[in-house]
C-alpha cells in the first residue's frame, strides 16, 4: 500500500531520473539503452540483446548506463531496434553480436556505429529517431508511452503522469463531470464502429442496476492488425487506469479484459500491471482514500474471430461458445450476466487518461470535424516501412502509405489499400487523397475498422484477395445464422470458379445476389460486412 503522498514522491523522483528519456537536450553523463521488447522484435531475439548488453555492462563495470526493455517503437520492419537516449540514436536490425561494438564505440568512445544506422528509401542515412521520415507526420497520444517506458515497472508509468488522471477524477470530479469531459472531447470508439464514447458511458451510467461491469475488448481478431496488442505490451497501465476511470463514471466496481490467447506477452504484461497496481493500493478498496473500489480480471480468448463482436465477447467471458445475439437489448442495459456493461476497445481506453489530464478542448482541437484525435494503424503488406503508426484523423492515405510508409518496395506500383480487415474494404489509387476519418472511409466503400492497413502492389489479384477474406469468413462463421453459414460457403465456391478461369457473367450476378442476402439476414456486423467487401471488390476492380 502506498499513500497518495508516497505516489506523488515516486512521481517527482522518478521523473527526474527519467528526464533523459524525453528531454533530448538533457545534460547528463547517464545513458539509457532502450531495446524494443514487443512481439515483433522479441520474435527476432531482442530478449537476447537485452541480456547481452547487461552482461557486457557488468563485465566492463560501466555504471551510468541502464538497459531498458520497452514496448514497440513502431518501425517493426527495422527490428530489432535499439535506441540510445538522450542523444536519440536509432540502430536498426541489431543482433546480440552487435552489442559489444555498440558499447565500445558508442557508449565508451562516444562515436556512432555507422553500419547499424537506418537508411531511408533514397539511401540517405539517418542517425536520430526524430529525423526519420517514418515519425515526422505522426502524433502519439494513445502510444505516448510505448517505446519510452518499461511497461513492467509501475514507477516509470507514474513518473510520466500515470494515475494522475485517476486521482483527478476521484478527488475533484463527479461521474457526470467525467462523462461530460469525454463527450466534449469527441472521442469515438476505436474498435471500428466509431460510436461516441461519452454517449456509451452515459447510457451505461443511467441504466438501472446495482451491479455493473466495465469490459475492455482486446480480442484483436482482424488479421494483420496489432495496435491493441502493442498498447497492452507497451503501456498496460494506461488501459488499466482508463478502465478504473470508466468504472467510477458508470458506477461499476468490477472490470474484465478479454485478450486473445495468441498474445502471450500482452497477457503477461497486463497481469503484471494489475498485480503492481494492487500492491500499491491503486487497485482494490478505498482507492486514494475514497469510497471507490475496483478490481480487474483477465479473461483469455481461444481463437474465434466472432468474439470481437460485443455480444459474442460477453458470451465468451461467461464461459460459453461465442455466438452473437440480436440487439437490442444493448450491453449498456443487459450485458455480462444480463447486467449493465460498458465495452470499449483498448485504443479507446488508452486515450482517456490523456483527455482527462489535458482537457476535452485540447483533444477536440486534433482531427477532423466529426472524428477527433488520432488513430493508430498497423501498416503492413507491400510497403517499405511496416509498423505501427499513429496519425491525427484527417491525414490522407497517401501520406500514410508514401510519406510515413516509404512507398511500395521493389519498384512496384500501388494497387490498393485494405482497411477494416475482413469486414472492411479496399481503397483504390483514385481515392488515395481522401482524408482518413470515420465518415470519409465509409463514403468510399471501406471502413475505419480497428486499424489494420494492408497495402498491395500491382502484382496482387483482387479476386484472390476477396477469396482469401471469404475463406476467412467461412472458417470463422459461428454457424448461428444459416444465410451466413451456408451463403458464404457458396460465395466462396463461385469465387473459386472465377479464379480458375471458369467464371461466367451469370456467376457475378449470383454472387452479388447472395452477398446481399447474407448481408440483410445475418445478426452480427462481421458477416454483413464480410459479404459487403466481396460486392465492392467486384464493383471496383
Amino acid at each position: 500500500m502506498k499513500s497518495l503522498e508516497e505516489i506523488h514522491k515516486i512521481r517527482e523522483e522518478k521523473r527526474k531520473e527519467l528526464d533523459l528519456r524525453v528531454n533530448l537536450q538533457a545534460n547528463t553523463r547517464e545513458k539509457h539503452i532502450l531495446v524494443c521488447h514487443g512481439t515483433g522484435c522479441t520474435s527476432s531475439k531482442s530478449p537476447k540483446i537485452i541480456e547481452t548488453f547487461r552482461k557486457i555492462l557488468e563485465e566492463k563495470n560501466i555504471e551510468n548506463v541502464k538497459v531498458i526493455q520497452t514496448g514497440c517503437f513502431g518501425l517493426c520492419s527495422k527490428g530489432p531496434i535499439v535506441i540510445i537516449r538522450p542523444e536519440d540514436v536509432f540502430y536498426a536490425h541489431c543482433t546480440p553480436e552487435d552489442c559489444e561494438e555498440i558499447i565500445n564505440t558508442h557508449i565508451i568512445n562516444g562515436q556512432i556505429v555507422e553500419r547499424l544506422l537506418c537508411k531511408e528509401i533514397d539511401e540517405q542515412t539517418v542517425t536520430r529517431l526524430d529525423e526519420l521520415n517514418f515519425y515526422k507526420k505522426q502524433k502519439r497520444i494513445a502510444l505516448k508511452n510505448c517505446g519510452v517506458i518499461d511497461p513492467e515497472n509501475i514507477d516509470e508509468y507514474i513518473a510520466f503522469d500515470g494515475y494522475k488522471a485517476l486521482e483527478k477524477v476521484l478527488l475533484e470530479m463527479t461521474p457526470e463531470d467525467v462523462i461530460k469531459e469525454i463527450t466534449d472531447s469527441g472521442l469515438r470508439g476505436r474498435g471500428g464502429a466509431g460510436f461516441p464514447t461519452g454517449k456509451k458511458w452515459e447510457l451505461t451510467r443511467i441504466a438501472k442496476g446495482t451491479q455493473k461491469y466495465v469490459v475492455c475488448n482486446a480480442d484483436e481478431g482482424d488479421p494483420g492488425a496489432f495496435m491493441d496488442r502493442s498498447i497492452l505490451e507497451g503501456d498496460p497501465h494506461s488501459v488499466l487506469e482508463a478502465m478504473m476511470i470508466a468504472g467510477y463514471s458508470i458506477g461499476a466496481n468490477k472490470g474484465y479484459i478479454y485478450v486473445r490467447a495468441e498474445y502471450p506477452i500482452a497477457v503477461q504484461r497486463f497481469q503484471i500491471a494489475i498485480d503492481q497496481a494492487k500492491e500499491y493500493g491503486i487497485l482494490g478498496k478505498n482507492i486514494f482514500g475514497t469510497d471507490f473500489e475496483f478490481d480487474v480480471e483477465v479473461r483469455l480468448g481461444a481463437g474465434a474471430f466472432v468474439c470481437g463482436e460485443e455480444t459474442a465477447l460477453i458470451a465468451s467471458i461467461e464461459g460459453k461458445s461465442g455466438h452473437p445475439r440480436l440487439k437490442p437489448p444493448f450491453p449498456a442495459n443487459a450485458g455480462l450476466w444480463m447486467k449493465p456493461t460498458l465495452i470499449n476497445n483498448v485504443e479507446t481506453f488508452a486515450n482517456v487518461p490523456k483527455i482527462i489530464l489535458n482537457g476535452s478542448k485540447w483533444y477536440s482541437s486534433i482531427g477532423t470535424e466529426n472524428s477527433k484525435g488520432t488513430k493508430v494503424f498497423a501498416l503492413g503488406g507491400n510497403v517499405v516501412n511496416v509498423g505501427l503508426v499513429e496519425v491525427p484523423m484527417g491525414t490522407t492515405l497517401r501520406e500514410i502509405v508514401f510519406d510515413i510508409g516509404g512507398g511500395i518496395p521493389n519498384g512496384r506500383k500501388f494497387k490498393a489499400a485494405q482497411t477494416g480487415g475482413p469486414s472492411g474494404g479496399c481503397i483504390p489509387e483514385q481515392n488515395l487523397d481522401t482524408p482518413i476519418d470515420f465518415e470519409s472511409l465509409n463514403s468510399i466503400g471501406s471502413m475505419m475498422g480497428s486499424g489494420g492497413l494492408i497495402v498491395m502492389d500491382d502484382t496482387k489479384c483482387m479476386v484472390n484477395l476477396a477469396k482469401f477474406y471469404l475463406g476467412f469468413t467461412v472458417d470463422e462463421s459461428c454457424g448461428k445464422c444459416t444465410p451466413c453459414r451456408i451463403g458464404t460457403k457458396r460465395m466462396l465456391e463461385i469465387l473459386e470458379k472465377i479464379t480458375e478461369g471458369k467464371g461466367t457473367l451469370e456467376d457475378l450476378e449470383k454472387l452479388e445476389k447472395l452477398a446481399q442476402t447474407v448481408k440483410k439476414t445475418s445478426i452480427c456486423g462481421l458477416r454483413t460486412n464480410g459479404s459487403k467487401s466481396s460486392i465492392e471488390h467486384n464493383q471496383i476492380f
Partner: protein, 163 residues
C-alpha cells in the same frame, strides 16, 4: 511437474487436479480451464473433459460444443514439432500460401493433421502479430521471419535430424 507422455493415467489425474484447484467452481471459468489444459497436454483429452464436467457441473455435450467452437482447442494430440504458418493478411499478401503449400507437400499431410510418426503437425494460424517479419511460420512457438520455401526446407531438415 509430470511427464508429457500419454500413458501415465495417474500422473494426468494429478495434473488435472492441480489445474482445477486454481479455479473456483464457477461456470464462467470453463474457457480459462480449457486453455490451461490445452497448454499443459497439447490437446484436451477425454478424461480432462470428464473432470471439468464434474468440477463445474457442466454437461459433457456442452463442453464438447465449446471445445469445437474455438479453434485453439484440439481433441487430438499435435506432433512433437507443431509447425504453424501464419495466414494473416500481411503474411498472405507476402506469399504465406506458398509456404503452406510447400509444407503440406513436404510432410505429406494437410492442415490439422499429424505425420504417422507423430513428429510433425501443421497448423494454419491467424495473425500472430509479427507482421514486420512477414511472412512468418513458427515451430513450437519459435518464430521464423521473412520466410521462403527454401528457409522452410532448411528448418524442417534440421528438426528431422533431431531426435
Amino acid at each position: 511437474m509430470c511427464c508429457e507422455c500419454n500413458n501415465g493415467e495417474n500422473y494426468q489425474d494429478t495434473k488435472m487436479e492441480q489445474i482445477l484447484s486454481k479455479y473456483e467452481k464457477d461456470k464462467s471459468n470453463l474457457i480459462q480451464i480449457l486453455n490451461e489444459v490445452q497448454e499443459g497436454y497439447g490437446y484436451i483429452p477425454k478424461h480432462a473433459q470428464l473432470a471439468i464436467s464434474e468440477y463445474l457441473g457442466i454437461p459433457m455435450a456442452e463442453i464438447y460444443g465449446v471445445i469445437t467452437f474455438y479453434s485453439r482447442f484440439t481433441l487430438e494430440a499435435k506432433g512433437k514439432y507443431n509447425i504453424a504458418v501464419c495466414l494473416g493478411t500481411a503474411c498472405y499478401v507476402k506469399g504465406s500460401e506458398k509456404i503452406l503449400d510447400k509444407l503440406k507437400e513436404k510432410l505429406g499431410i494437410d492442415v490439422g493433421e499429424t505425420t504417422p510418426d507423430g513428429k510433425f503437425s501443421i497448423e494454419a494460424t491467424r495473425c500472430i502479430g509479427a507482421c514486420g517479419l512477414a511472412p512468418v511460420f513458427t515451430v513450437n512457438g519459435e518464430v521464423y521471419g521473412n520466410a521462403t520455401p527454401e528457409l522452410l526446407d532448411k528448418v524442417i531438415e534440421e528438426y528431422k535430424s533431431k531426435k
